[in-house]
């Protein structure tokens, strides 16, 4: 009888609490956004950004409306503070698609799978949490992320990748093939999946024939609002695709004098249109970004100060707003953002943004201060060297030079590199060439942290801060390595392809890519724009390297077994033979035979016994010298007989 009132009270409390939270900002919400950006090499970048937020609850037993339960459970269970998982196919072209904006530093990822996570657990439990996390994610995303569980695959960078002393784990799987089976579970985390809203644009064939696509999942959770942030989990899902507008392809090639950018529309690059927003989304917006270089080029073409540049191109849909970057530092120009709200579109009136260029325009993207190339040196199966070459990109000083002049002329470069254990890097052989001259390492390295690899236990890791003069033309680092041997069952399938060295991350801590757009205070800023506003260091990844190692001939286990058995038989046979005989045994034996003294040796006894059984007197044993010709002739006869038989057999039946 006492139950109902308690129930009621509990229910009331719960309701009131949700109401309270709903009235506050941090209720569950979902926002979807799409950014489109023409790239200098006639391609189009599409960047989907979905953000789900859920308030962090204390008892952990709340019903979730929008936020994926799997993720929230995972965060609760493994106490993930921050995590990022990315699946990437293709390479981000830093030279053509830009290396100095938030897009490239946040969304350009190395090929394959990259996973890092910061845990909110004591240091000694981090590894266990990581292992569990990898297995969970592996199940969640149908990928072999569980291979990151083994301690040879991940490492714990201290400061070069992200400041998280001891709680960060980082692993990469460069060879992971990315396909729809990874995209579908990722889409399942969205409240509308790909049935409505912007995600309906994700036509699988057009995404997977793209030049680059990277699907990313970024998770931050704040347990308490100590840091001034709202407590809760923020799940950021992005998909970055670089597409080639296909329909124009046939026309524009071979009209080489016309450098008109291809015109495109959503329906031409994705084959689909947007039929309204996802009903569960708080906002649903499409942006078209014209980057700084393009805007300044357009201005030049027009010759006026007006920022619209509409004379150069034509949009099929009128933008709801035009945002201009608030630019204080870069004098070159500021990027433009056209905002379209999808709210007012529906099935009957789908949203199909199109862009038609009228005049040729050529621009280039902003480059990171140094362009990083990593490659292998040497040939053969024995040893080699890894080289990281940093080249200055400002050949025609288009890159931002503002910081550089003010900054006391120092260029900091963070290098973070993991090398699998079977590539035995000799870190003492680090050589540094600055502007084609061999320099002492100590003069330019501000900070270095090296964890040599342990065979079959942990990979080698190098974190380093280079302090280069800012007028540097090029800097090269080389590290020698020996190639190790693996045990036969450690070879992956297709071992003859070679082994991968995962990408190195190169970041420039005193260069920050951020874009500020004016915010109207009436509504909350869109998550993507606030992401743009966050100042993040310029980060780029280098190429994955392929090291050919010596591989056993897997196709010949039988031969190996045969040879080994033969060797063993020969060895043990002769060894036993030697061990069995005493020194001088043979001579004594011969002597005893010659004197014809019949002793009671078992063999003699046996032969005598058998002779008796047959009822014949035993023949005296013949000396070998006498018997050999007889045996020989018999043997020859037998061999001849066999040969004749064989020939006859071959002739008649063969």
């Amino acid at each position: 009888m006492e139950l109902p009132p308690r129930w009621a009270v509990l229910l009331f409390l719960l309701l009131s609490s949700t109401k309270a939270s709903r009235s506050a900002v941090d209720k569950e919400e979902f926002q979807e956004e799409l950014l489109l950006k023409p790239l200098p090499d006639r391609k189009v970048l599409a960047h989907f950004h979905f953000e789900s937020r859920a308030p962090r609850n204390s008892n952990g037993r709340r019903h979730l409306h929008l936020f994926p339960k799997a993720i929230s459970q995972m965060v609760e269970k493994f106490r993930v503070k921050e995590m990022e998982l990315s699946f990437t196919q293709g390479r981000w072209n830093y030279e053509r698609w830009g290396g100095f904006d938030t897009m490239s530093s946040n969304n350009a990822k190395p090929p394959g799978v990259e996973l890092w996570a910061v845990f909110d657990v004591p240091k000694e439990q981090v590894d266990a949490s990581w292992k569990n996390l990898t297995h969970t994610l592996s199940g969640l995303f149908c990928a072999s992320i569980n291979f990151l569980e083994s301690s040879t695959m991940y490492s714990a960078p201290d400061w070069s990748f992200r400041q998280a002393s001891g709680h960060l784990r980082y692993g990469m799987l460069p060879r992971e093939a990315v396909c729809t089976e990874n995209l579908t579970p990722w889409l399942k985390l969205l409240p509308c999946r790909d049935n409505a809203g912007l995600s309906a644009l994700m036509d699988r064939p057009s995404i997977y024939t793209s030049f680059y696509h990277s699907q990313r999942l970024h998770l931050t959770s704040n347990a308490s609002d100590l840091e001034g942030l709202n407590p809760g989990i923020v799940l950021e899902q992005t998909l970055t695709v670089v597409l080639h507008p296909r329909s124009q392809r046939t026309i524009l090639t071979h009209i080489s004098e016309s450098y008109l950018q291809p015109s495109w529309s959503l329906s031409s690059i994705f084959g689909r249109k947007v039929n309204g927003r996802c009903a569960l989304a708080k906002s649903s917006k499409v942006y078209l970004q014209l980057e700084r270089g393009l805007v300044s080029e357009l201005k030049k073409n027009i010759g006026s100060e007006g920022y619209d540049g509409e004379a150069n191109f034509e949009l099929s849909v009128n933008p709801d707003r035009v945002l201009k970057e608030e630019n204080s530092r870069h004098g070159i120009g500021s990027s433009l953002l056209y905002e379209f709200s999808v709210d007012k579109y529906s099935n009957s009136k789908p949203f199909d943004l199109g862009l038609t260029w009228k005049f040729p325009v050529i621009w280039s993207c902003q480059q990171a201060p140094l362009h990083a190339i990593r490659f292998l040196m040497g040939s053969g199966n024995e040893r080699g060297a890894i080289a990281i070459l940093l080249k200055s990109t400002d050949l025609n000083d288009s890159s931002p030079g503002a910081d550089r002049s003010s900054d006391g002329c120092e260029l900091h470069v963070n290098i973070f590199q993991i090398v699998p254990w079977y590539i035995r890097v000799y870190y003492h052989s680090l050589q540094l060439f600055v502007d084609d001259q061999l320099k002492a390492v100590g003069a330019f390295v501000e900070k270095i942290h090296v964890m040599p690899s342990k065979d079959k236990i942990s990979p080698g890791m190098m974190e380093m801060v280079l302090k280069l003069p800012c007028g540097v033309k090029s800097a090269a680092l080389t590290l020698d390595f020996d190639k190790g041997f693996l045990h036969i069952d450690e070879y992956p399938p297709d071992a003859n392809q070679g082994f991968d060295i995962p990408s190195a991350a190169i970041s420039f801590p005193n260069f920050h890519a951020s874009m500020h757009f004016p915010s109207n205070d009436s509504e909350r800023k869109s998550p993507m724009l606030s992401k743009f506003q966050e100042s993040s260091p310029v980060l780029s990844y280098t190429e994955v390297l392929l090291v050919p190692l010596t591989t056993p001939d897997f196709s010949m286990p039988y031969n190996v077994i045969t040879i080994t058995c033969t060797v063993f038989a020969l060895y043990f046979g002769s060894l036993l033979n030697v061990l069995r005989q005493r020194v001088g045994e043979k001579e004594r034996l011969l002597k005893s035979k010659a004197t014809a003294v019949k002793t009671g040796r078992p063999s003699e006894l046996l032969s005598r016994l058998s002779a008796k059984l047959r009822g014949r007197s035993q023949e005296p044993s013949q000396s070998p010298s006498e018997s050999s010709p007889l045996i020989n002739s018999k043997l020859v006869l037998k061999v001849l007989l066999m040969a004749a038989l064989a020939v006859a057999w071959q002739y008649y039946f063969g």
């Binding site: 080489s256 450098y259 090269a476 002739y651």
Partner: protein, 727 residues
């Protein structure tokens, strides 16, 4: 073999020992049988050749239909006409212009274009750098600005690939060096044609979506030969030098500014970085050439595969090219053969004999199919001979050799058109065929997930679709070499009057004390022989180094160089002989016996020949094989002429003749000239040819050079020494 002094029955040695003793005691018979069998096995090789097959299933050649369209071809034609429409008055400007055109076309396709500068340095012999072939340090110093070249490299990044691997397509092209002769000369046209084929493929590959590996199109500036630019580029690719060189080049030699000026003019305004661009690990390389000679029957494809020191690319690479060329494009595929062998009489007779034998065998049992027709046999052995020769020479037959030095499989495809295509339709058809062939090969390699490892690396071709694998051609060599240790052992035993326990079991008297001393003394006698052999080998090494000094003499013609070389070698041999080797030093100590001294010397020589040949067979099998053919009979036959003179029978007379002939033939220069006379006729003989030949050997770091100096020549000298021995 210790004997028991007692009267008991003799102990029976182990069977394997008995077998050995048996063989040694019948060494003469074994020699004859093995050598004949060895030569016979070599002659039988064309019969034993197997058909090639594609071993790696992932390659899947020809399983996709070709995608080259007429548009690619018309673009390529436009490129060709742009290139040939240039005004060739100032050569440098023409080179610049044509390079610019090429760059523009490449970058219009979306490729990353870069230039690669290299300095041609003529091959310098340096004894210390012999085996350290891909060294980077030596290239830094002393280059002259006149001898530089500029290669153009275009890279297509595979759209969805991870950039770990790359396929290289090489077309040699002489930028601007064609001058006025271009209009009529064919070479320029042929090169432009190869460029158009490559461009056709390149333009296709820039569009396709199936690429998994990056494509590098390397247009080699072939004004200093085709090998040098490829080699320089590969070295910079694999072993870059970070210090100093880059700035030095840019400042002094190349007019990079001009290039940029040109680029500015172009509408593209794309930056052409002078930086070295890379793609990942190279999976394979194709060198594409169009020959300027015309074929009689149909379009043919010549395949060149031999790299330095007899290394060959994986057989699968040749297989896919052969398969696609024959079954898809209908080209006639050829590999190099020794043409003079084709109409040699003895080979024909041999072929007929084998054919007859095959027929007989087939009549006995239809299942036995080892006979081939005489014509096939002749073709096969001519190809095999050329294969053997080029492998033995150790000089790469084309730019593909440079790739093999970095463990990249590469072959040269030389397409020669039937009629030089002047009319448009024929021209386009030729481009289409060539383009489809290259496309198919690249697509096959692109399919490959692992590197080439399935098929053979050690093989010889007897026709484009037939090969002899290592397991088969080893037999001939093994048979030739097998009698050497036996003869050495038997000679040693004879000379020391050792009793091997078989020949004379009862004749040996009991040893007295003085005899024992004699035996111990005799058993150490081989040291004198060993010393002599060693000294002669040191002399051989010295002879090897002589060309380095002769090269320093200015204005020396090949003929005079040869003469100087021979003279110096003889002189040093004489000095050596006077100092150390003269037999008088120890002849007084040991009483000359009936066979003694020369037999031990011969035994030591034969042992050294055996070891040398075995070592060489690991380094370069073909060279060892040819060496064994020359050396083994001579070494086995060698016997002091004096002995035979004394006897004066027909048999010994024959032996003298044999010895003299073999001794003459096995002398390297003599062998060279004999072969040259046989193949080219007597009138083309020139002393300088030998010098040139040897020079090319050391310039290409061929191990055959070392072999000739360290094994062949000393052993020949020792054999001559035995022949002239005063017993």
């Amino acid at each position: 073999m210790p004997k028991t002094e007692t009267g008991t029955p003799k102990m029976k040695p182990r069977p394997i020992v008995r077998l050995g003793i048996f063989l040694i005691s019948h060494s003469l018979l074994v020699c004859v049988v093995c050598c004949t069998a060895g030569v016979l096995a070599l002659l039988l090789l064309p019969l034993l050749a197997k058909n090639t097959y594609i071993s790696e299933n992932a390659l899947m050649p020809g399983s996709a239909s070709s995608m080259i369209s007429n548009r690619d071809i018309s673009e390529a034609n436009r490129l060709a006409s742009d290139l040939s429409g240039l005004n060739f008055e100032p050569q440098d400007a023409a080179a610049l212009e044509s390079r610019g055109i090429l760059t523009k076309y490449m970058s219009d396709l979306g490729a990353e274009v870069s230039y690669h500068k290299f300095h041609h340095k003529p091959n310098q012999f340096h004894p210390l750098h012999f085996f350290s072939s891909p060294d980077s340090t030596s290239s830094v110093k002393n280059f002259s600005c006149s001898a530089h070249g500029l290669n153009t490299v275009g890279i297509i990044r595979a759209p969805r690939g991870d950039g770990k691997e790359a396929i290289v397509l090489v077309t040699p092209y002489k930028f601007g060096k064609r001058g006025a002769t271009y209009k009529f000369g064919k070479s320029g046209a042929a090169e432009t044609l190869s460029l158009s084929i490559a461009y056709t493929v390149f333009s296709l590959l820039s569009r396709v979506t199936w690429l998994a590996k990056d494509i590098i199109w390397f247009v080699a500036d072939s004004q200093y030969g085709e090998y040098a630019p490829v080699e320089a580029w590969l070295r910079d690719y694999h072993l870059p030098v970070f210090t100093g060189l880059g700035t030095l080049n840019a400042d002094t030699c190349i007019k990079i500014d001009d290039l940029y000026v040109f680029e500015q003019k172009s509408i593209a305004q794309r930056k052409i970085s002078d930086g070295f661009r890379r793609a990942g690990t190279m999976a394979a390389a194709l060198i594409l050439k169009v020959a300027d000679r015309n074929e009689l029957l149909e379009d043919t494809l010549n395949i060149y595969a031999e790299a330095s020191n007899g290394q060959m690319p994986n057989l699968d690479l040749i297989n896919i090219v052969n398969y696609l060329a024959v079954h898809r494009q209908g080209l006639r595929v050829k590999v190099e053969k020794v043409l003079t062998l084709l109409d040699s009489r003895w080979l024909e007779i041999l072929g007929e004999i084998f054919e007859l034998l095959g027929k007989v065998a087939r009549s006995l049992n239809p299942g036995w199919k080892f006979g081939i027709s005489a014509a096939d046999y002749i073709e096969g052995s001519a190809t095999l001979a050329s294969s053997l020769y080029y492998q033995a020479l150790g000089i790469p037959t084309g730019p593909h050799g440079a790739f093999r030095d970095f463990q990249v499989d590469a072959i040269t495809l030389e397409i020669s058109p039937k009629v030089f295509p002047h009319n448009k339709a024929r021209h386009n058809e030729f481009l289409l065929r060539g383009g489809r062939l290259v496309e198919g090969v690249i697509r096959s390699i692109n399919n490959l997930l692992e590197k080439f490892h399935q098929s053979f690396f050690l093989y010889m071709l007897t026709s484009p679709s037939k090969f002899v694998s290592v397991g088969v051609y080893m037999i001939a060599f093994a048979l030739l070499v097998a009698p050497l240790p036996l003869v050495a052992a038997s000679l040693y035993a004879d000379a020391n009057q050792l009793d091997l326990g078989v020949k004379n079991t009862k004749s040996t008297p009991t040893a007295t004390a003085s005899d024992e001393l004699d035996i111990t003394f005799r058993s150490w006698k081989w040291l004198y022989a060993a010393r002599e052999v060693f000294l002669i080998h040191v002399w051989g090494a010295a002879v090897l180094l002589l060309p380095y000094f002769i090269c320093q003499i200015p204005n020396c013609s090949p003929t005079s160089s040869t003469v100087i070389w021979v003279f110096l070698s003889m002189l040093s041999l004489l000095i050596l002989y006077l100092i150390g080797v003269s037999p008088s030093t120890h002849v007084s100590i040991s009483q000359p016996e009936e066979k003694g001294e020369w037999a031990i010397l011969k035994s030591a020589t034969i042992s050294v020949v055996f070891i040398g040949l075995l070592v060489m067979s690991v380094v370069n099998f073909a060279a060892a094989e040819i060496g064994a053919l020359l050396l083994v009979p001579m070494c086995l036959m060698a016997q002091p002429l004096k002995l035979d003179m004394k006897v004066g029978k027909l048999r010994s007379f024959l032996r003298i003749i044999c010895n003299v002939v073999l001794g003459f033939v096995a002398f390297p220069p003599a062998a060279f000239f004999v072969v040259k006379t046989i193949f080219e006729g007597f009138d083309s003989i020139d002393m300088g040819d030998f010098w040139n030949w040897m020079e090319s050997l050391w310039a290409w770091n061929s191990a055959t050079y070392i072999y000739i100096g360290m094994v062949h020549l000393p052993c020949w000298v020792l054999c001559i020494h035995i022949l002239l021995h005063s017993c």
